[in-house]
Amino acid sequence: MNDSSPILRVNNITKSFGDNTILNGVSFDLVKGEIKVLIGPSGGGKSTLLQCINCLVVPDSGDIELENEQIDFSSKQDLYSLRQRVGMIFQDFNLFDHLTALGNITIALRKVKKISKKDAEQRARVELEQVGLGDKEDLYPAQLSGGQKQRVAIARALAMDPKILMLDEPTSALDPELIGEVIAVIKALAHKGMTMVMATHQISLISGLADEILFMEQGNIVEQGPPSLLLTSGNSSKTQGFCDRLNELSEVEA
């Protein structure tokens, strides 16, 4: 496998809930080290697409190829192995409330990867250190701020050594003053070359990190391209219009 062949192929994915078509044949490729950013109006299908990629929501049709292997949606083993290789960060963190920051990270290492408790803890400490929470390992989620929770969630995903990290609006549930610390962690990951697919409405992440922007609307990718192309002022792209509105909003808030 050479470096330019995609690590993830999403091919013609469709998904409906009842008569409601949410994804209408979505395709894209992701190469190692690339960062794709999903944007678009609410209800456009971004979260559903991300959850189809790791089969938390199983697609109705289409296929997913990870590291050149097609995923058999009906094989549990395939799904478990896919999910171990694709980390996911949620908008509302979804930490395990009964476990400490350290426990949140070690549980999957121990139960899924069958790593010994000692090794798992050692690994978890390294990851907590990376997200700047080395001194918080004994705290429970209820004792952490939103930004700290999201950083623990990122550490938890990274400890599994994912090939790809998916982030679904990682800063949207945070108070404005806590967004910065999470953005900093995501940017540091980008600099290390982490492959990512991220849904976000955070302008600095969109324009600063995206190799390619995918604009989703009504279950389709209706526009795609690098920020340098889509986000030049005076451009008539939907993306530009959308980001202008985001900018206006954030100026109103500030």
Partner: protein
């Protein structure tokens, strides 16, 4: 010393031995109910329609039929019919365990549904199987959460266990009745029995409250002050 008091004092060791039998019935029944309740709650939330339907019928039967009817039905009817030679103690434990299991299923089901759904998603996203997520993420939380309701259930089952005397299990009530029928000191003896039941309830509830406090997740919910 009045005869009423001396009768109670004389028969106290005999009655207290009965309280070990009562405690044995209640503890075994609660644990059996815990296993039944957890399995059925998981089935109700994650099972298919057929599993859900069967469990619902079970719950309705055990909630709808009086314990004393179930006791006769199982002890004289079902166990005889199946040629199972269960003692009165075992029979009461099974009937009370199956009854509290039906109630505990509802307690645990409510607890599972009250958990934020995202935690199960997050566990799946990390590569856990459903059963790993249930065992490692869901159960530890719902069991903690259910201790107050469980303690309620304990006091109900403790009181229901007095019905065991009708099939002759030698617990507190059976022994009290036995002594009373010989000495005619009904008032003082049943007061003594009542006090023993009260103390058992109180001790169990306090112990469960201590357990709840020791398992409480820091920073989570604060009942009262500490």
């Amino acid at each position: 010393m009045p005869i009423a008091l001396s009768t109670v004092i004389d028969s106290l060791p005999y009655l207290l031995q009965g309280s070990f039998i009562t405690a044995g019935i209640v503890v075994s029944a609660m644990l059996l109910g815990l296993v039944i309740g957890v399995c059925m709650a998981v089935g109700l939330v994650f099972g298919n329609k057929c599993i859900q339907y069967s469990i619902t019928i079970y719950i309705w039967i055990f909630r709808g039929v009086p314990v004393v009817v179930l006791l006769f039905l199982f002890y004289f009817g079902l166990f005889n019919f199946l040629e199972l030679n269960f003692s009165a103690f075992t029979s009461v434990t099974i009937v009370l365990g199956m009854t509290t299991g039906a109630y505990q299923a509802n307690i645990f089901r409510g607890a599972i549904l009250s958990l934020p759904q995202g935690q199960f998603k997050a566990a799946s996203a990390l590569g856990m199987s459903n059963s790993q997520a249930i065992r490692n993420i869901i159960l530890p939380q719902i069991l903690r959460m259910s201790i107050p309701a469980w303690s309620n259930e304990y006091s109900i089952i403790l009181k229901d266990s007095a019905l065991a005397f009708v099939i002759g299990a030698p617990e507190i009530m059976a022994r009290t009745q036995f002594v009373a029928s010989r000495t005619y000191q009904h008032l003082s003896l049943y007061i003594a029995a009542g006090i023993i039941y009260f103390l058992l309830t109180w001790a169990g509830v306090i112990a469960l409250r201590k357990l709840e406090q020791s398992l409480r997740i820091p920073g989570y919910t604060h009942h009262g002050s500490n």
